[in-house]
Each structure stands twice: as C-alpha cells, then as structure tokens.
C-alpha cells in the first residue's frame, strides 16, 4: 500500500492555534505518510512544527467562505486548531489526516521508519525481563525455575517465551494448567518478596464453567507455591471482580477456584472497574477538564460523576491489600480477574512499587513496565487505539495503563522523595503508549511483536528515554533511596486529580514549572558544591 494514495493534497497555507498561552504559527502545512508538518515562512523561526498523525484522536472540519478550520483532538489530550486557506484544500487535508491516522497495519507504522540520530537499531532492545528477573529471584530462593515451555507461544499466546514457575512443577503440568486457564494464562511468578519470602503470582480465571470442572495440575501448581514459600504458609487469591460477577462468569465457562480444591488458599473479591465503564469514566473526566467556564459546583459534581478518582482509590487499595498480605501476613498472593491482562497487571505492578525499592528507581521502573505490562501481555494496541476524544464507539479501548500511571503519580505525590522518576516520566509513558515513534508499545503481545519483528526493526522507547538529554525532564531531583515499603493513604482527601496530565494543555501551570526549575537548580547546586570540594583539594596541592 502506498501512503501517497491516501494523501489528497500535498500542502496548503495555514495558521495553527495551540491554546491560549502559545503564539499562533503561520506557514505551509504539509501532510506526509506519518506526519503533519507546518513549516513557517523564512522570516519566522526556522523550526518545523511536527505532529505524528497516529496521535490524532478525532478530527473536525468546518468551512466558511474561502477558508476552513480543522480541529484536531490528540490522544495526549491536546486540542489544536488549523485555519487553512481554501475550502478544497481544507477538505482534502482533513480527509488525508483521517485516513492516515486510522491506519491499522503495524508494520507500516512510523516506528518502522523512525531512525533517530545517535541510536543504533541493534542495540536498543537490551531488556530480557523474565530472564533478568529470574536471576534476581534465584539469588534468594531455589523454589523457582525459569521455564521455556512457552518457547513457541503454544501454551499461552499472550505470555513471553520464558516464565518463572515453581521448581516442583514440570512443563507438562504447566501445559495442563494452561488449558484450564482462560487464554492459557496459568499462574506465574510476578514478584518475589525477599524480606518475607512470599510471592506474588498472576494468572487468568480458571475455566471451571457451570460443571465446576477441576484441574489437578493447576491445584498442584498452587500447592507447590505454598510449599516453596515456607512451612504453613497461607495463600490469598485476590479476584478483581465482585463475587457475583465471578459466579456469573461460570455460565460462560469461566469462574473461580473452588475452596475445597485449593486448601490453604482463600479467595478475596475486590471489584475493579475495567473495559467500557473505565473508558467512559476517562472520557467524562476529560470533557469536564475541557470546560474552563464552569462553576465550582458544576466542576465538583462532574469530578464526582466521572468516578475516575474512585477507580484510582480502588486500584491503590487493592494493591495495598495484596502488598499487605505479603509483607504483614506472610502470605502468598495470586491475582487474577477474567483475562488477567488488565486489572490483574494493575494490581501486581502497583503492589511491587509499594514493596520493592528497586522498582522505584529509573531503571527498575522501566523494567517493571517491560516485565509486568509489555511482556505480560497487556494488549496495548487494542486498549490504546483511541483516547478520550474519539467519536467511534469504544470496542476494546480502556485506559488501564493510564490508571496505573495515575496511581503511580499519587504515590509520588505522597512520597515525593521515594521515586527516582518524576511526573515527566509518567507523562512520557502516557504519550508514548497512545502514539509513539518507538516500538515498545506496539502490538498486543510478545508473540505479535515477534511476528512483526519489532525488536529488530524499531527502536526501543527506553533507549530513547535514557539518553542524557532527556534525563532532566524525567527524573525527580529530590530522589533519595528509601529501603522501606511506601504505604499510601487512600482516603479521598489524600487523592488528587492529576492536573499535570488532565489539565496539561487547557491550563498551563507556568509558575509551578518555574518553581520546579528552581528545585532542580537547588538540587544540582548541591551536587555541584558537594562534588567540587574533593576536586578542589585534589587539584590544589602544588604551591
């Protein structure tokens, strides 16, 4: 397929309005295969303005007289307005943007063409999360092994090639257990909590069905987990659906673990919102945030009505529950919902941030996202196909990953010194998960990424972010390593709307940015003065 077929018109004269605080740009507008370019005339600044077409969420066109206006609503929640000379040109450009921004093919997407300076293709994918993580676990305990039973993705298409499982369970048993779990997602290790010797597992729902089927291998697998932890250890299964929803799932072949079949394990139900209701909550919140004129009461009732902060609270408190179970009860925790690719990952990754100081470092957080979201098979392509402005009816879209980032932001607000990364990192992750020049968030699973050769043909987001020039935006200048668990408060008074994201474009917080710059300056001043002393003394000995 050729992009040129979709491009109706090459260029037009246009003016771009980017919100109240930014000056408008005038110049020649140009549509290319992946980008919208605006090149200002020679008299103005030489910078090109560039927008990835993939980040356009919805497009509106209006014509009046011999000019037209296109309103672009982007997936990063920005709203842009283009005033274009010529009715024909406006319509053509609108049609071209519409066609190009909704292309579904992965291998013609921009990451496959993006070749930034300073990065080499082969070097960028240095992550092998399950393997690396296994090394960490193996240092602490012998009860687990790295299984390559899923080498060809035959057991579970949404798992990576290698997974960590109890040493006592062989690959055949894994295969049987996989057949008993939806999508083949049998219980695997998510996190080993060294201080208490307990583990966090994740899976999908068991396929008990209306006949209340059982699977010996699956039962043995969970028994082996308890046996490997410590004598007499108990287990908790955190189901992210309500008890009723879990029961109803039996009618469609799913269900929950029967109490009698899994001695030592106890089930807890913590319903978390997912799917369409979550997407709608996101859409309503963004709508409310776009209205600058509304009264105080209207704003508060819309904030309440969209229920987004309730979802944040539920997610955080469920993660705290899981973390508390491990740290204080010495229990093993298995988390699953239905498919085990959404709210399950939300809970396991948040629990790790609360408990594990390493995952709060820059490198550790990237590894956590790679291991617990990307490799663990969160279907990014489906979930992030559209953001909050899309007019199409949501099918698979849900801002689960955004909810995760919001929870992390709340953690960072309550523990401003304990995360090595700052708000900038979370914003970058949000932007890139919806539209990115990098390949990291492409596809829905490791299997699909292998088919598309993402690793060899695109650059990894991490190599982009880890360049020194990006660091100032992403890091938290106040970070000081904290070896303890961080228990957030989940009271409504402690949770706040993430203004940096939801109001990023409508309401630019200029004064606080300047203040943040000052914090950076103080922090780096300190490093400098601390660092300068030894060099002073070292360089000055000669008279």
């Amino acid at each position: 397929m050729e992009f040129s077929e979709l491009i109706r018109t090459g260029q037009a004269q246009a003016e771009l309005l980017r919100g109240p605080e930014m000056p408008p740009l005038r110049g020649t507008l140009c549509v290319t295969g992946h980008h919208l370019l605006l090149s200002p005339g020679p008299q103005a600044t030489p910078d090109l303005w560039l927008l990835l077409l993939r980040s356009v969420d919805s497009i509106e066109k209006r014509v009046a007289g011999d000019a037209g206006t296109i309103t672009l609503r982007c997936k990063d929640l920005r709203v842009l307005q283009l005033d274009i000379e010529g009715v024909e040109a406006t319509l053509d450009i609108a049609r071209s943007i519409e066609a190009l921004s909704s292309l579904e093919s992965v291998i013609t997407s921009f990451p496959f063409f993006y070749r930034p300076k300073g990065l080499r293709l082969g070097e960028s994918w240095h992550f092998h999360p399950p393997e690396r993580y296994y090394k960490r676990v193996a240092r602490e305990t012998r009860a687990w092994r790295l299984s390559e039973a899923n080498e060809d993705f035959s057991l579970c298409p949404s798992y990576p090639r290698a997974v960590i499982v109890p040493r006592a369970v062989d690959d055949d048993a894994l295969a049987r257990s996989a057949r008993f779990r939806q999508g083949g997602r049998f219980p695997v290790l998510s996190y080993y909590h060294a201080p208490s010797g307990t583990v966090l597992l994740r899976s999908s729902q068991p396929l008990t069905g209306p006949q209340k089927r059982r699977c010996t291998e699956d039962e043995e697998l969970l028994q082996a987990v308890l046996a490997g932890a410590r004598p007499g250890a108990r287990g908790f299964i955190v189901d992210t659906r309500s008890a009723q929803a879990a029961k109803q799932a039996r009618m469609t072949g799913g269900g929950t673990e029967a109490k009698s079949a899994y001695p030592g394990w106890k089930r807890l139900h913590r319903p978390l919102e997912r799917g369409r209701p979550l997407q709608e909550s996101f859409v309503h919140l963004v709508e409310a945030c776009g209205d600058l004129e509304q009264s105080m009461d209207r704003w508060l009732s819309r904030l309440d009505g969209c229920r987004w902060l309730s979802h944040v609270k539920e997610a955080l408190s469920t993660a705290c529950l899981a973390a508390q179970g491990m740290e204080w009860e010495g229990a093993c925790i298995l988390v699953h919902g239905a498919e085990g690719t959404d709210s399950t990952l939300l809970v396991t990754s948040l629990a790790q941030l609360i408990l594990d100081p390493l995952s709060r470092t820059m490198a550790g957080f990237q590894e956590l996202i790679e291991r617990e979201w990307i490799q663990a098979g969160h279907p990014f392509q489906l979930r992030c196909a559209h953001s909050a402005f899309s007019h199409t009816r949501p099918k698979h879209e849900a801002p689960i990953f955004l909810l995760f980032l919001d929870c992390v932001w709340q953690l960072g607000r309550q523990f401003p010194l304990s995360l090595e990364f700052g708000e900038g990192m979370l914003l970058a992750l949000f932007d890139h998960s919806y539209a990115s020049p990098f390949g990291t968030f492409l596809c829905n699973s490791e299997k699909e990424r292998c088919l598309c050769e993402v690793r060899t043909r695109t650059h990894s987001l991490w190599s982009g972010l880890n360049q020194p020039k990006e660091q100032r935006k992403l890091r938290n200048p106040l970070y000081a390593p904290n070896p303890l668990a961080i228990w957030p408060s989940v009271e409504p008074q402690s949770l706040r709307l993430w203004q940096g994201l939801f109001l990023r474009w409508t309401h630019p917080p200029e004064p606080s940015e300047v203040a943040w710059e000052k914090v950076w300056q103080i922090a780096t001043d300190q490093e400098k003065t601390e660092g300068s002393q030894p060099t002073d003394s070292a360089s000055e000995p000669q008279p």
Partner: protein
C-alpha cells in the same frame, strides 16, 4: 493545649473536637473521672470573661521592655509611611482620636486632605456603626487607594450630602482617574429573596427604578443590581443611590454572610469526619458544603479590586454590611495581590495587623473566645488564610512564607496564648490593657522564622510583582493540611519543603566552606608553605554534611513543628493507613493484627 481552643465536647467517650480541627480522644478508666474531666473541660473551654483567657497567665519569661518591644514590632504608622502617606492628597485625621466617631475603628485614620472634619462626622452618621470611608491601602505608583467603610443607612429616599462629599473627595484624591468604584461584597440573591417578601415595597421600587432606567444611561451595572440596591435602600440600609454619586461605578460581588460561611464549614467538617469516606461522598460533600465556591468568590472579589487599580487606575471603596468581615477579606487579599511586601513574613503580619486587627474584625466573637453568642462565630479569617494558601499553591515562588506559617497563625487566633487576637476592636483591647498584660505573637513567629521560610521564594522576580491568579474551578482544592492537620495518616509521608530547605542550607554551608578553603589556600600560597601541609589542612576542615539528606527523608515529617514529635519511620505500620479495614479479611484467621482504631489522630504534645 490551651483550653480556649476547644470547640465542642461530648460526653460519650470524652471526645474533644478543637477549633484547629484536631480531634482528641481521652480514654479515662473510671466513668466518674471521665464525667469530672468532661465537665471541667466544658467549663474551661468556655470562659466567661477575658481575664480568664490563657494569654493573661501565659508567661514566656520576658521582662517588660522585651514585651513592649514585641508589641512595637508591627508599627502601623511605619506602614502608612511605607505607602507614601501622608502626601498632598491624603492626610492623617485626628477625628477618631478618642474613638468618638467610631468605636470599632483605630485612632489613626487616613482620609482625603480635602475632607474636613464636619464631612467626616456627617458621613459617619450615615454609615452603619459609624464606619465611614477611610483609607486601607495606597498604591503609590498608581496614586489609587483602597478604601473601606460599612453600608450606608440611607433609608428609602434619604441621602447624605456629607457622605457624597467624602466619596467625591476620595475620587478626587486620585488624579489619574475621574471615576472610582464602590464595591459591594454582598451577593445579589440574598437581596432578591428579601425583596420577594416585601412585595409592596418591591412594586414601588420597580416603578422608581424603571424611571431611573429611562432617565439615565445605565453604566456598568444591569437593571437587576439596581433593583436590589433599591430594595435594600427601602429597608433603611443598603446601597448608595447611584444618582447621588456621580463619577462612581458600582460593582456587586457575591460573598455570602457569616452564617452561610459557618454552616458551610460545618458541612465540610462533617463530611471529612466520616469514617470510611468514599470518593463519591467526599466530592458530593465538598459540593454541598459550598466551601470552595465561597473561597473562589472571595478571591474573585480581590482580583476585581486589584484589576481596578492596576488596569484602570481607579480608587476602590469596599464595603459589606458592617465592613469588618467580607470587607477585611477583600481589602487584605487585594493588597496582597498588589504589593509584594505583604507576601513577606513581616509584611503579612503588618497586613493582618492593619486590615484585620486595627480595623476591628471581631476576633473574639468570630472565634468564640468567650462563652458568647454562637451565631457570631464564623470562620471568616480562616477563609482568608485559605485564600492565601490557594495563592501560594498557584504562585509557589511569590511568597516568602510557607504553609506552616499560615497554619501557625490559624492555631494562635484560637489558642488565646497571645494578646493579638483577643477582643473585638482596638478600643476594647486598650481597655483590657493587653499590651501590658499579654504578649504579642509576632516576635515569637519571627524568632522561629526559619521554619516558615519558603525555599522557593524569589523576591526579585518582576513577573510576580502583581499576582494575577486564575480562578478557574480546577484551581480550588481541598486544603488537607488545614482540616486534617493532626491526622497523620492523611499526610504526605515526606515533606518536599523541608528537604529543599535543608538542601538550601547545606548549599550555603558548602559554599561557605569552599570559600574558606580557597582563602586558606591563598594564604598558604603566599607563605610559600609546602603542599603537604595544605593537603592536611584541607582534610581537617572538610565538613561532614551529606548524611543529613538521607536520614531526614526517612522520617515522617509533620508540617507544624511539634515540640517532641512522635515520629516513626514512614509507612512502618499499615495501621496508620485507612485501608487497613480491608485487612480485616486477613485477620479472620489471625486476629488482632491490625488495630481497629485507625484514622484517630493521636495527641502528640
């Protein structure tokens, strides 16, 4: 804890609820003791006379001259001089020297030079409680003034020529602009509802006002405002008749009265006191309480005032009913927006002393220091502090002080430990001989000012000379650190302010060290000593600093500097967190893992 800080005591389990939003539980083993304690607390928290308040027995071991110096720390005469007064247009009036004209005003008042004493006296008779228009703040560059007064007692058709004269004088005292604003801070709909009950008068008003409407061009205000003004005038109180005051523009801003504010705060506190509060209940509670809406209204009024002066060069006269609640809020907040001096620690003290204490904000009544009329109690000053807090949130670099400073001031308007906030007006304070019998708060705050510094403060930034806050609804947030000041479970576990402050201090120390070392090296070079000695010297002066950084951040940090903090390592106990209710499910098998008393603030001092 001073007893006067207590707001309500219940007998149930001897719970105390304090005015600084702290809840204290005493667990008393014997029921009779419990009753006794309860009764004593009840009595002690409601003193009958001023002399029983804590301030009169508080003794910080200072001698009389120190005490006097403390009281002289904030000198309003000095402050008016700083504004550039007196000048060719404004002068100090001795009309109220003996509190003869207005009991609730201070002795020293600034009025336009051309306003003679008979005019002042005449105007004061026309204004409620004799609070005639006087100067509150003078903007030297714009030559415009913020003035304040109470509502006119105009009656249905009465007018007062002296009052009109005085307003003209204020207007003329500003050479830069022909017109001035009169800002009425009361809301329109209150007047409307009143009007609805007075239908007969209403009808007359409609007729009259439509006549005015036809007769004269309507300037800024729309017809409704005019009707309301007429309505109030019919009650014998109310608004100036616009026709009698030329060159004056009337502006109405809707700030609710003290009773609405009191019940609004009560609703807010009720919501927050609920255990196991859901997000939904919290936000619908916030909405129903209307507290943030009121905060926004006050801020909007102050912004209007500041803009009138900055953009239009116009003088503004602010009034509400009595001119000591909403008027104080708007005047002081407006000055704060206009003048960076008031955003310093010392300047903020001056501002409170000027617009609140000296102009007769009734602290004792509003804070319920004595056992008095509960209808007089209202969180007007708390509201002002919250508006300031919202500004500090929006302009993190514009204020020399931090949140802890605001909280500390709030603490002391209720504590009655110091004399500043006792009494309702200056006259009363003089009669109580507060300056001889009690101490001033300000020197104590200044002594501890290190705790109250904002490390991000940038005093030189030109951009922050005049603040132009954005009052879009998103900007108003629940002030957790005020209303849950003592609820440690809800606080951020680490304080950014403290850590930045420490970094700043360390930077200064390190830079000083570097300088010292450099000068020593120079000396040694001059003396031609050998390098070995220099090296040793350098080692000997190296300070032992950076360890501080890591050790501090592991501690939980309370905002108010508590004397002996019961500080624990952060997150050390999940019982500190309110999600521990979920842990009940765990503990069915293994009980007593989690204390059931979560969310109860413990007393730490």
């Amino acid at each position: 804890m001073p007893f006067s800080g207590s707001d309500g005591v219940w007998n149930t389990c001897s719970d105390g609820e304090c005015k600084n939003f702290r809840i204290v539980h005493f667990i008393v083993p014997r029921e009779r003791d419990c009753h006794d304690i309860y009764n004593s607390l009840l009595q002690l928290s409601k003193q009958a006379k001023y002399e029983d308040l804590y301030a009169f027995s508080y003794n910080p071991k200072q001698n009389d001259s120190e005490r006097l110096r403390g009281w002289q720390l904030v000198d309003l005469a000095e402050e008016y001089k700083r504004m550039g007064l007196p000048n060719s247009n404004w002068q100090l009036s001795d009309a109220n020297r003996d509190y003869k004209i207005c009991e609730t005003y201070p002795r020293e008042l600034y009025v336009p030079r051309i306003a003679s004493k008979p005019i002042i006296v005449g105007s004061s008779k026309f204004r409620s409680k004799g609070r005639f228009p006087v100067l509150s703040y003078y903007h030297q560059n714009k030559e415009a003034a913020i003035c304040r007064c109470s509502q006119p007692l105009s009656g249905f058709s009465a007018r007062c020529l002296e009052d009109e004269h005085l307003l003209q004088a204020i207007s003329k005292a500003n050479p830069a602009n022909r017109y001035m604003y009169v800002m009425d801070t009361r809301p329109r709909h209150r007047m409307q509802s009143w009007w609805a009950t007075q239908k007969d008068i209403g009808r007359i008003i409609v007729r009259i006002s439509s006549k005015i409407w036809n007769d004269k061009k309507i300037r800024e205000s729309d017809g409704k405002k005019r009707l309301n003004a007429m309505a109030n005038r019919a009650a014998g109180k109310g608004y100036e008749n616009e026709d009698n005051y030329s060159n004056i523009r009337f502006q109405f801003v809707g700030i609710e009265n003290i009773h609405v504010m009191r019940s609004s705060l009560q609703k807010l506190l009720e919501v927050n006191g609920t255990k196991g509060l859901s997000v939904s209940d919290f936000y619908s509670g916030l909405e129903n309480a209307g507290w943030l809406r009121h905060i926004k209204a006050v801020t909007d009024a102050a912004i209007f005032l500041a803009k009138a002066i900055m953009v239009e060069n116009a003088s503004v006269l602010v009034h509400c009913s009595d001119g000591w609640d909403r008027t104080s809020q708007v005047c002081s907040l407006g000055s704060l927006l206009l003048d960076p001096y008031y955003r310093t620690i010392r300047g903020f003290m001056v501002l409170i002393e000027k617009d609140w204490i000296s102009f007769g904000h009734k602290y004792s009544d509003r804070c319920g220091h004595l056992d008095g009329d509960p209808k007089e109690v209202s969180p007007v000053f708390t509201q002002f502090l919250e508006c300031v807090w919202h500004l500090t949130e929006q302009f993190p670099q514009a204020f020399e002080f931090n949140e802890a400073f605001l909280l500390q001031i709030h603490e002391h308007i209720h504590s009655c430990q110091f004399g500043n906030f006792i009494g309702n007006c200056q006259k009363e304070r003089e009669e109580l001989k507060l300056k001889e019998k009690t101490y001033s708060l300000w020197p104590f705050l200044l002594h501890d000012q290190k705790k109250y510094f904002n490390p991000l403060y940038s005093s030189t930034s030109q951009k922050l000379a005049v603040l132009e806050p954005n009052t879009v609804s998103f900007n108003f947030k629940f002030w957790r650190n005020m209303y849950h000041q003592f609820d440690r479970t809800l606080h951020p576990r680490q304080s950014v302010f403290n850590i930045i402050m420490n970094m700043n201090e360390q930077n200064k120390q390190l830079q000083k060290d570097v300088k010292d070392l450099e000068s020593q090296i120079k000396q040694h070079k001059n003396k031609q000593t050998d390098g070995v000695l220099t090296k040793e010297l350098l080692k000997s002066v190296r300070p032992e600093s950076p360890a501080l950084k890591t050790s501090l951040c592991l501690k939980e940090q309370t905002l108010l500097p508590v004397k002996d903090a019961l500080r624990t390592v952060e997150g050390s106990s999940p019982a500190d967190n309110r999600y521990s209710e979920y842990a009940d499910e765990f503990s069915k098998a293994e009980p007593a893992v989690v204390s059931s008393e979560y969310g109860v603030a413990r007393m730490t001092c």
